[in-house]
């Protein structure tokens, strides 16, 4: 397993995806996932600026100025892909037709509330599709480091940052562990290789149940 926490997180999150699923990937760690998926993973990637069937990054000779993802990076489109306008794209999202959204967060609460678009005291001038995705996707997987750069835990009793949505998160993958929201309760279900329960307790300020799976 990679020693880069971001790669570890992306690799573990990739295992949550099932063949045939429609998946929207946020900016940052989630965007590492395509590189980690086996070609046979059978996952279809949706990007909210209007494409289902995102392919790998283009080689230089494949670059197309009309073909980008929501991070505004050049992409390719797979065979069987389709394009649509932004109203139709968000109809897919809001209407519950995206199986999984994988995205980053600043904080997730013990109730699955998520804050991932704004920092208190700074201007709230960019939200993009974050709110639509966490409300609309059937499963929301958060990928983030367990703690912020200042050491503060990100899995918290209650979000102190501006909320993106309440009770929206299903799974949290950090470089230490996997949490799942079960019946509204936060459960630790997996320690990543070499991680101890104590390490997770130290990095987590939210109360959680321990329900480790074999």
């Amino acid at each position: 397993m990679s020693s880069d926490p971001r790669q570890r997180i992306a690799a573990r999150a990739a295992q949550e995806l099932r063949p045939g699923e429609i998946v929207n990937l946020g900016i940052g760690i989630p965007n590492l996932i395509p590189g980690l998926l086996a070609p046979a993973a059978g996952v279809f990637i949706h990007t909210e600026n209007g494409l289902l069937g995102v392919g790998p990054r283009p080689r230089d000779e494949e670059l197309d100025p009309d073909l980008i993802d929501a991070a505004k990076r050049p992409v390719t489109a797979l065979l069987g892909a389709s394009y649509f306008d932004s109203a139709d794209s968000f109809a897919m999202i809001r209407g519950g037709h995206i199986d999984v959204a994988v995205l980053g967060a600043l904080q997730v609460s013990a109730l699955g509330d998520i804050a991932n678009w704004a920092v208190p005291g700074k201007d709230v001038l960019g939200v993009g599709g974050a709110m639509d995705l966490v409300v609309g996707a059937r499963r929301v997987i958060v990928t983030m480091t367990a703690t912020a750069s200042n050491g503060e835990p990100k899995v918290v009793p209650e979000c102190t940052y501006p909320l993106t949505a309440r009770a929206a998160v299903d799974v949290i993958v950090t470089e230490l562990s996997v949490f799942r929201l079960r019946g509204g309760a936060l459960c630790l279900t997996e320690l990543l290789d070499g991680v101890t329960l104590d390490q997770v307790r130290q990095a987590t300020s939210a109360p959680f149940r321990v329900e480790l799976e074999a």
Binding site: F44, A77, Y83, A91, G95
Partner: protein
């Protein structure tokens, strides 16, 4: 979801259960999924159905066959009158009818697929069709609050599909089909032609495959 190749019409309509709400595409018989309707008529026992379709077929044709079997409990439509037998069934108390203006009917289905909780339209305000509905003045114009329509199963027809379930509709056979494909828990698409993946130009796909759960080849009518 994604279709992943074709199944038989009988297998597909077996997903429809008694009591279900079923959307059926088509404007009259044009663009109606006639193979799927025939399979529902001939090979399914599901009854007590609520049908969401612009018309309830024509006498003995399309949904008119299902009506004759007495398996439709309720119709949600904009124009029952194109099937006099549907009108007779309503008068005889055998069919419950919910009538919507055609544009509101279309918009409600779109809203059902798009996760819109409700919407205001000026259409119908002050008429019989707004009775019992919430109204609200917006910019001094009376608007009616309308609710989304959703279904357990949608039956749609497309001239072309690819094996993933991407759909392309031909001419005026498009009508309600792309909307209904988005608004049901299970969408079954009947296609005139099923192409290999890549057989449809990516810009031309009208219903992306994520909306299509089952794909059935049209039987020559």
């Amino acid at each position: 979801m994604t279709a992943g190749g074709a199944v038989s019409a009988a297998e597909a309509v077996a997903l429809i259960r008694t009591g279900d709400t079923v959307m059926v595409g088509g404007f009259g018989l044009v663009g109606a999924p006639l193979t799927l309707i025939d399979a529902l008529v001939e090979e399914s026992d599901a009854t007590d159905l609520t049908i969401v379709s612009n018309n309830i077929g024509e006498p003995g044709k399309g949904l008119g066959k299902l009506l004759r079997q007495g398996r439709i409990r309720c119709g949600i439509a904009s124009f029952f009158t194109s099937n006099p037998e549907a009108v007779a069934a309503v008068n005889a108390g055998q069919l419950e009818a919910k009538l919507l203006p055609q544009g509101t009917f279309a918009e409600a289905i779109r809203a059902g697929g798009a996760g819109i909780g409700g919407f205001y339209v000026p259409v119908g305000a002050g008429t019989l069709l707004a009775e019992g509905k919430e109204t609200r003045l917006i910019d001094d114009v009376p608007h009616v609050l309308e609710w989304p329509l959703r279904a357990d199963v949608a039956l749609v027809y497309a001239a072309r599909a690819d094996e993933l379930g991407n759909l392309w509709y031909r001419r005026t056979a498009r009508n309600f089909n792309p909307l209904m494909a988005t608004a049901a828990a299970i969408t079954i698409a009947e296609a005139g032609e099923i192409l290999p993946v890549g057989g449809l130009e990516a810009e031309s796909v009208m219903t992306p495959h994520l909306y299509v759960d089952r794909l059935v080849a049209r039987r020559e009518q």
